[in-house]
Each structure stands twice: as structure tokens, then as C-alpha cells.
């Protein structure tokens, strides 16, 4: 049973988590499980109402960067342990490749993934079609597939984390926008909100698309840019089979997977202007259909029954920002997941709890520090759509 009305804002808390999406909820869960129960999560809207409210989200371990792959793999393990009612379907991710350059890049990625225990493999076009009969095999030269990938309902996971954290003592205050962060002597001192101020020594920014302005309140630069991403849902179609993989045309970024006995269709829109508008714009469907037809011809005229839009929280290298601010003590951040917050939230929550407690995380996240762009040390993640 999901928790009911929101808690009230306390005047003090050991840790204030800003953002009640899947990442903030996972942070609160891991803090509470580690014994830090004096935690308050504040959200300007409601829990899992922004990007984490996406009807279905992808869960994959197929990343080309070792750290991203480890975060995702650990997250899959933690989701299995969580046991949330999240309709987790391990149907695999199928990356369809048209260009030799992409094939070489994915071959290197598969080798890296296999090295860390991820059972991905390269396929030829015929093998890819056997996995997903709707595709045009003539359009592709190879594919990469990983059977432990799949998709699930982010809302179910976010609420499972929030419910568990709340049972252990964490508070979740919604309709509570942060208006300022007090920093004294280089350390976090308080968080000011529309419902009052909370004295605290530790802040975790998990504010997703709003992270840049939250960071600025503390004098911390978080290079996160909000960009709308849209998806469409279809009526029942024979293309949707129980084992249909999460199928991605890597060149166009068009993707589709099962949603009930219909499909979920998506694509990155290169004309999208950064901003906080998350309303659905149906005109996008023309380009979506065009890309669908080039990947899987039967999908070009499939009946769309619904559309949904949310905000990606993009960073310049499409990888997350995880760490503690260099110049503001106890200002931690877990944001900028660039579309992979659901994929990486569990491990991120575990790591942030370790950072709060001064414990060594299972993997060094220093490469994900917010300062990496100024230092010209970006993450080289290739498997981004």
C-alpha cells in the first residue's frame, strides 16, 4: 500500500534530499536502511510526478563506459532485491546498428560488459530479426543484445523506495519548493522552502531537471539542462509479443517495446529546444512515424492511443553527476542522469548513502564529479540515444 498524505516539514533534519523522484527516493531508502532515519525528502510537486512518472522505463546494463555499466548492473541487482510491484520485464535490449563505425563501438562495449559480468552479445541481422521479427533486416548490419535488460514501471519502484524509507522514519514533504540554501563557513547550514526552513548539515540534490538552479542556490555549478522527451503508446498490435525486446535503431534513436499488448514508441527529437515545458506536442508524431517506418515498416501507420512527455536532465556527456561539491561541504548531488535515472537510481542511492556516512562506495564515482567538464575530463559513454 502506497503511503498517503505527505508529511509535514520539520525544522531540523540530519539530511535534506531535494527531489522526490526515483533517485531521491532511492537515496532516502538507503540512508534509512543504513540507520540515518532523520531524513526529509522535499519535492516541489508530488513524489515521482516528473520524469519518474513515465509509464514505462528502460532498465539496461548495456553501457559502453565501465562505471556506467557497473552502476547499471548493480542497480539491476538492487531492483531484484527490492522486489517492488513494478512489472519488471526482462526482455532484453536490442541495439540495431546500421554503420560499421557503430558496430566497432558496440563490439568494444560488449567486450567491456562481458568483462564486468554483463552477458551481452553481438548478433548479425538475421539473429536480430529472430529476436524482433518486425524490423527490416536489410536496414541493419549487426546488433547488440543483452538478456538481463528490459523495462519496468518507474512509479512502482519509486513508491516502493519511498514507502520503505517512510516506514523507517524518513519524511516526504510534497508541494514544497526549495527557495534557498544557506551556506555558512563553506558548509551547508539550512534549506529554505515554501513551507519554511530546515536546519541541516547535509543536502543531497536529486532535483533532476531543476538541479542547475538548486545547485546555484548553494554556489555549486551543476551542468544539467532540461530537455523534453516524448513517447507514444499504441493500440493492440501483433508486433507486440511477450518477449519483444526493447528495440532501438541506434542511428535514428527510434525505439519501441511492449506496453501491455500494444507498444511504446520513442525517439530523441533533435529539434527539441531545452526548457521546462513537459506538455505533450503531438506534431512530433510525424517524425516518429517516419523513423518507425525505416526501422520496422509495419509500425509506420500503427494507431497511437496516447502520448506522454517528460524532462530529461541532460549533461554535456550524457552521464550522471554523482558526488560531493568541492567547495561547499556536505552538498552532495545525484542528478543529470540524461535519461538513465531509472536505470541507475538504486546503485546511486546506495553510493550517496555511503558518501553521507563516509563509507567507501562499491565503486569509485570520482569520474562523475560535477567539475569534470571544467577539467575537460568527460565520460566517454557511447550507448546513448
Amino acid at each position: 500500500m502506497r503511503t498517503g498524505p505527505a508529511d509535514t516539514l520539520p525544522t531540523t533534519a540530519q539530511v535534506v534530499v531535494i527531489g522526490g523522484g526515483i533517485v531521491g527516493a532511492a537515496v532516502a531508502f538507503h540512508l534509512a536502511r543504513a540507520g540515518i532515519t532523520d531524513v526529509v525528502v522535499v519535492d516541489r510537486d508530488g513524489l515521482a510526478e516528473a520524469a519518474s512518472g513515465k509509464p514505462i522505463g528502460g532498465l539496461r546494463a548495456q553501457f559502453s563506459d565501465r562505471l556506467n555499466a557497473l552502476l547499471a548492473l548493480r542497480s539491476l541487482e538492487l531492483y531484484a532485491e527490492l522486489g517492488a510491484d513494478m512489472d519488471h520485464r526482462r526482455v532484453g535490449y536490442l541495439f540495431l546498428l546500421r554503420e560499421a563505425e557503430h558496430v566497432a563501438r558496440f563490439e568494444a562495449g560488449v567486450a567491456l560488459q562481458n568483462d564486468v559480468g554483463i552477458p551481452s552479445a553481438m548478433l548479425d541481422a538475421a539473429e536480430a530479426r529472430a529476436r524482433c521479427p518486425a524490423i527490416d533486416p536489410e536496414a541493419f548490419v549487426a546488433a547488440a543484445f543483452c538478456p538481463i535488460d528490459g523495462h519496468a514501471r518507474p512509479l512502482g519502484a519509486a513508491w516502493a523506495y519511498a514507502d520503505d524509507a517512510r516506514r523507517r522514519g524518513a519524511r516526504f514533504v510534497t508541494g514544497c519548493a526549495v527557495t534557498g540554501i544557506d551556506v555558512r563557513g563553506g558548509e551547508v547550514a539550512a534549506v529554505r522552502t515554501t513551507q519554511g526552513a530546515v536546519r541541516t548539515s547535509t543536502v543531497v540534490c536529486a532535483a533532476g531537471a531543476w538541479s542547475r538552479e538548486i545547485g546555484a542556490m548553494a554556489g555549486v555549478e551543476l551542468d544539467v539542462t532540461p530537455v523534453r522527451r516524448q513517447i507514444a503508446l499504441t493500440a493492440r498490435t501483433p508486433v507486440s509479443t511477450p518477449d519483444l525486446p526493447f528495440t532501438i535503431d541506434f542511428s535514428s534513436t527510434f525505439y519501441f517495446h511492449g506496453a501491455g499488448d500494444g507498444l511504446l514508441l520513442g525517439m530523441s527529437d533533435p529539434t527539441e529546444v531545452p526548457g521546462l515545458d513537459a506538455s505533450y506536442a503531438p506534431a512530433w508524431e510525424a517524425a516518429l512515424r517516419e523513423a518507425a517506418g525505416r526501422c520496422a515498416p509495419r509500425l509506420a501507420d500503427v494507431a497511437i492511443t496516447e502520448g506522454w512527455a517528460g524532462l530529461y536532465e541532460n549533461t554535456p556527456d550524457a552521464s550522471a553527476l554523482i558526488g560531493e561539491a568541492r567547495d561547499v561541504g556536505r552538498f552532495l548531488y545525484a542528478t543529470g542522469f540524461s535519461g538513465h535515472g531509472f536505470c541507475q537510481a538504486p546503485a546511486t542511492g546506495e553510493i550517496v548513502a555511503d558518501l553521507v556516512l563516509g563509507r567507501e562506495p562499491f565503486v569509485d564515482v570520482a569520474p562523475l564529479r560535477a567539475e569534470r567538464f571544467a577539467e575537460r575530463s568527460p565520460i566517454a559513454e557511447a550507448n546513448i540515444v
Binding site: 498524505p5 512489472d87 514501471r153 529539434t271 503531438p282 512530433w284 492511443t305
Partner: protein, 106 residues
Amino acid sequence: MAYDRTVSEEIEPTRDDDISAVVARLSRPTRTGRRVIERAAIMAEGSRSAAILTWLENASWTPEERVTSTAYRGGAGLHGARLESERSDARKQAPQRYVSPPTDAT
């Protein structure tokens, strides 16, 4: 606002308890104590969505209007505008989400 039953021509028989469980899984509580379920979450259930919408209507959940962007979409041009005008009445009029009655205990 009318409920949209045009989402699927075929409604598979589904037990009331099953639908109730799905609604519980897909909905979330609000600050008012009511529950809310997004239409997109319902539609992601495929043809079962019709049974869910009927269940919500029978349980007196209230539809809420959607906010749809009419902002310029680069590259969409006149074709985009035409597509918008061609959207089915059902999709144009469909609510964005449904809110439970105050006493709902789903």
C-alpha cells in the same frame, strides 16, 4: 468530460479484483488523500486499458483535462499542424489523469 472507451475495440474479460490491483499499482496518493492515475499509465496496459477506464468510471473517479502544447515544433511545419487537426476526437478530448473520490480506499 466523457470517458474514452474508444481505446480498444476488443475488451478482454478481466476480473474486477485484477483491475483493482492494477489501479492500485498505477496510481499514487496526493496531498489531499485522494489517488491519481495518469491516462498514459493506463494506456500502457494495452487493450486492458478499456476495462480500467470502465472500472474508474464505475468507481466515480473524476477525469481531469490535459494540457497540450501548441508550441512551435521545429521541422514539423504545416504537416505538424495538419497532424494535430487530424487527431481523433477521442484523443483530443481524453483527460490527462483521473482522481479518486475522497473516500476511495484502493
